[in-house]
Symmetry: none
Subunit: 314 residues, 2 copies
């Protein structure tokens, strides 16, 4: 490794001693490393650079340095390649350094191991119900502040105060509120008796159908987006146990696990499933991805029952 003299990052990175890899993301092609520089913690994160697609000057032959076929079948060929690089015009990666890094920085970048859990109704009743009880009260005070105390009300897209059918529709924290392609709204219902999808049954059908109707009507009226450009879904497990929905532009790039099967469930699916089987969500095994830092994972007995339920599949 050579560094341009006078610039500090190269000199610092030369001294970086790896402690461990915090996380890697094959989708965005990025990694975060924990290590030390001069006995102090440091975090180095690397992310591969995007291709520069200046159409006029783009030359595939100049971009590819060497290429080796992995395989081919009929008209399909796939291969690995090395690419032409240039530090200033065609870099291969962005490298960020935090030095010295605090414990908070480390936790933020640290990856937790995740598992695909197949939750049976029995597991739900045994572990999730008591867990949810412990997640109420002060932990969702911020939700009640929005619903009943006017918190964030200046951002409300819609507010219906009816205690049964009403809800607040507001921009999600993740949305910059500008870029319509990444439109991300959140609907939080006023009623307090639905903690998660597991509580929903045929008695909620009119409530859910009306919810979808109003969300679609208001969103398409207030924003330049069509009803068939919305992905409306919930999460199981949700991040807080007060019924809420996510409303996202279907073109939103890169929501990761937030819209993935094993976490997201379309409102459409919820409604249609309950129409078919009234107690669908009380009877179904539900699979979801759970991180080891999640409270449920650390509930006594939960892990063993999970392992038994997944073992049955082999």
């Amino acid at each position: 490794m050579s560094t341009s003299s006078g610039f500090p990052i190269g000199e610092l990175i030369k001294q970086f001693q790896l402690t461990r890899i915090l996380k890697g993301d094959p989708q965005t092609k990025s990694i975060a490393l924990l290590g030390t520089i001069n006995q102090e913690n440091a975090i180095v994160s690397l992310e591969k650079s995007h291709f520069i697609t200046d159409e006029l000057n783009f030359q595939l032959e100049q971009l590819i340095e060497e290429i080796v076929t992995i395989n081919h079948n009929d008209i399909y060929y796939w291969s690995n390649a090395t690419l032409t690089q240039n530090l200033t015009k065609l870099p291969s990666a962005k490298v960020n350094l935090i030095y010295p890094a605090t414990e908070t920085h480390i936790k933020k970048y640290d990856e937790q191991k995740t598992h695909y859990v197949v939750e049976t109704p029995e597991m739900y009743n045994k572990y999730v119900v008591p867990y949810i009880e412990g997640m109420k009260g002060d932990r969702i005070k911020w939700v009640y502040n929005i619903l009943f105390e006017g918190k964030e009300s200046e951002t409300f897209v819609h507010h219906d105060t009816d205690p049964e059918s009403g809800f607040v529709l507001l921009p999600d924290m993740k949305w910059d509120t500008i870029n319509m392609e990444s439109l991300y709204l959140c609907a939080i219902v006023n009623r307090k008796d639905i903690s998660s999808v597991r509580d929903l049954n045929e008695s909620h059908l009119p409530f859910l159908i009306n919810l979808e109707k109003v969300i679609r009507a208001v969103t398409t009226q207030k924003f330049p987006v069509n009803s068939d450009e919305l992905r409306i879904f919930i999460h199981y497990q949700p991040s807080y146990y007060h019924f809420h929905l996510h409303i996202v532009n279907i073109r939103h790039p890169g929501l990761g696990d937030g819209i993935a099967v094993g976490k997201a469930i379309l409102l459409e699916d919820v409604i249609e499933n309950i129409k078919l089987v009234g107690d669908y969500y009380q009877r179904r095994k539900i699979g979801y991805i759970l991180g080891e830092n999640h409270g449920l994972w650390n509930t006594e007995g939960y892990r063993e029952d999970h392992l038994n339920s997944i073992k049955e599949k082999i």
Copy 2:
């Protein structure tokens, strides 16, 4: 550009004449190019490779070739770098080629407007069934090449030739076959009578349960991954109408729409739904994201029925 002799892709790519850039995705660091080789259409797609994080041998100093600081502020530094490359051990990109490419291929890779379609059973019978018929024959010859002609058989992870219950398990084209975090396998069944999830009913339960069982057993035996680290799903609409499954490491954190609700359906969900309601997939409205270039979107009447079905929701 130099190519390893005896491998065809390098020679073909040397002759590639760019027509236009079909799409670029800065999140996944990938681009798709339309061009010609010998006057015939060809699509080259490139995707940057993920970092190889073999903790024991990982050396930041060996990975970074040159580095130049962009800026720094307090404890935060950011910079650009060039990286060490090696064609076989440390490639920089995966390069796929489709040649000759049909209009269907071009449409699939082209940037396009998308819609959330709520497909009723009536729409399925009226539009999708005839559409699927037209997508058989030569269009899935490559699938039969794999299943019955030994194509790609050197890469097979598993091969059970039983015409009813058998299937091939092999690395998906999207996987570099090296990085376990992005493990991506594909299971293609031998039987030809299942075009999509819409064909599945209670008669397929033993078949599907066995499929999941064997996939989990073989995958965890052949690769350093646990059963509860696998996300197993199908697509609706699928990209080809011969029943196949996707098997992905749950840590592959976002494959874009590939694992999103509105396209991906967990095998788990399929099995549990059919257990609850035998003709679940014949009775359900199914919502999915569809691009305007998709053949279905351009089927007469389909669009109107879609708009009517989404209008009912407002």
